[in-house]
């Protein structure tokens, strides 16, 4: 049997799954940002009438996933698997959204890399012949993440300049088979790297080596160069992480040019005072489901490399002084 595996860490799909539909739902602050118009739905406030921020996050995810299915125009019951993940303990946002959708459910945890991970695994399920429709979605919520990972939101304290702002939002894509539409042609799953960063206010620095490692292997596995892509977008490295990635890549013999950007630098503008940029599962998910998908469909982007970046720590491991392991997962989408 022919392996679909190429090189170290990459899979190349023989019948590439198509992104049938994508949908994004965000909070008010994201709606006011530079990408505001690219989102399908903008909430008026952060809680939208739910009882708690956790339930609000789950609602975001549910709306995004249902939105993608509706946009594709297929009945929900045609979906074979729902793949979802988020940042909260025991991925409750996803579990509760799955309770509403009642589809066969695979919960994923890759921290903020989960969107890319879900798209990779979903594509494997379809290309492998295990499913005809796979629904992928992730969510994050600023207030639920802050209180789990950092400090209460009402506490008067300063965020460090390298800190990033967790996106309130959820993005979803529906994968299937079709003759037209953006296709996922390859995926490179990353390995966990830890270069010893312990500062939870500097996630970008913790994740950058893992992203660079995934990029390096991706290019070698497929014998490609960064210039072969019209866009290389890392998940949520922010200002510090994006600079570090470029520098680490350069030292490893590969230079990222103007095609490289970071989703964390796209969502907010300077006046929104978020310091080093955006983060959270929702960050790369809503940028991809909104802005990037629109440009792929319009033909202004031909081949995109989305590299989700995840910080695989927990509040407990940080209190115990453990450094923050990072991961990067890459998927290739061609318009």
């Amino acid at each position: 049997m022919d392996l679909k595996r190429v090189g170290n860490q990459t899979v190349a799909f023989t019948s590439p799954p198509v992104i049938l539909a994508s949908y994004s739902v965000v909070g008010p602050m994201e709606g006011r940002g530079p990408l505001g118009k690219t989102f399908d739905k903008v909430w008026q406030d952060n809680i939208n009438g739910e009882k708690s921020w956790e339930l609000a996050e789950s609602k975001l995810l549910q709306e995004a996933m249902q939105g993608a299915v509706e946009q594709a125009g297929i009945p929900l019951s045609d979906v074979d698997y729902m793949l979802a993940g988020d940042l909260l303990n025991q991925i409750i946002s996803s579990n509760f959204a799955a309770r509403k959708l009642a589809l066969p459910f695979i919960g994923l945890y890759g921290a903020c890399s989960t969107m890319a991970l879900g798209m990779a695994v979903g594509s494997m399920l379809i290309d492998g012949g295990f499913a005809s429709h796979v629904l992928v979605g992730v969510s994050s919520h600023h207030d639920s993440a802050e209180r789990q990972y950092r400090l209460p939101t009402e506490q008067g304290s300063q965020r460090s300049l390298s800190a990033q702002w967790t996106v309130t939002g959820a993005g979803s894509v529906l994968l299937g088979q079709s003759v037209t539409g953006p296709r996922i042609t390859a995926a490179t799953l990353g390995r966990v790297l830890d270069y010893g960063e312990t500062d939870v206010g500097n996630m970008g620095a913790a994740m950058a080596p893992a992203v660079a490692d995934t990029l390096l292997n991706h290019f070698q596995d497929l014998q490609r160069q960064p210039g072969d892509y019209s866009l290389i977008a890392s998940g949520d490295l922010g200002m510090v992480g994006a600079d570090l990635t470029k520098e680490v890549m350069l030292r490893s013999g590969m230079s990222l040019g103007s095609e490289y950007t970071d989703c964390g630098l796209m969502i907010y503008d300077k006046s929104q005072d978020v310091h080093a940029g955006a983060s959270g599962c929702g960050c790369s998910a809503v940028v991809f489901a909104g802005n990037i998908m629109q440009r792929l469909k319009a033909g202004s982007l031909k081949r995109v490399l989305l590299v989700g970046s995840g910080a695989l720590h927990s509040p407990i491991s940080s209190l115990q002084g453990e450094s923050v392991p990072g991961i990067g997962h890459a998927v290739v989408i061609e318009g």
């Binding site: 952060n46 400090l151 209460p152 939101t153 460090s160 312990t198 500062d199």
Partner: protein
């Protein structure tokens, strides 16, 4: 104007004490959170109080030295020492809490009431 008595010394001494806190936050590791700052100040105030070094600050700065949390630490230590003078060894256990009971009770009461009355804005 009696109302404005001491306010300039209070402003200066209080400001300087807060600057010390800011330096602690900015120049130490990021894991040194506001909680660590508060614990450092209350403990530091108690130790300085025991050594007799905090009392002059209160005399010079008034509220500038009593309002920062180091002033709470000073009251705890002073309360314990005063009670030891009055009641002997048991005073060491009762004196600190007794001297600061109003503050502690106010913090619990107002903290509870506000938490019940308001919802977090995020």
């Amino acid at each position: 104007m009696f109302l404005f008595q001491m306010i300039i010394p209070a402003f200066l001494v209080g400001g300087v004490i807060c600057v010390i806190g800011q330096l602690l936050m900015d120049l130490t590791k990021p894991s040194f959170t506001p909680a660590h700052v508060l614990v450092t100040f209350v403990t530091g105030g108690a130790i300085l109080g025991a050594l007799g070094w905090y009392k002059p600050l209160i005399e010079i700065g008034g509220a500038g030295a009593s309002v920062p949390l180091s002033g709470f630490g000073y009251s705890l230590a002073k309360g314990a020492m005063d009670a030891v003078s009055r009641e002997g060894l048991m005073g060491a256990l009762s004196g600190g809490v007794a001297a600061t009971a109003v503050g502690i009770a106010a913090a619990v009461l107002f903290g509870y009431l506000v938490s019940i009355a308001f919802n977090p804005k995020g």
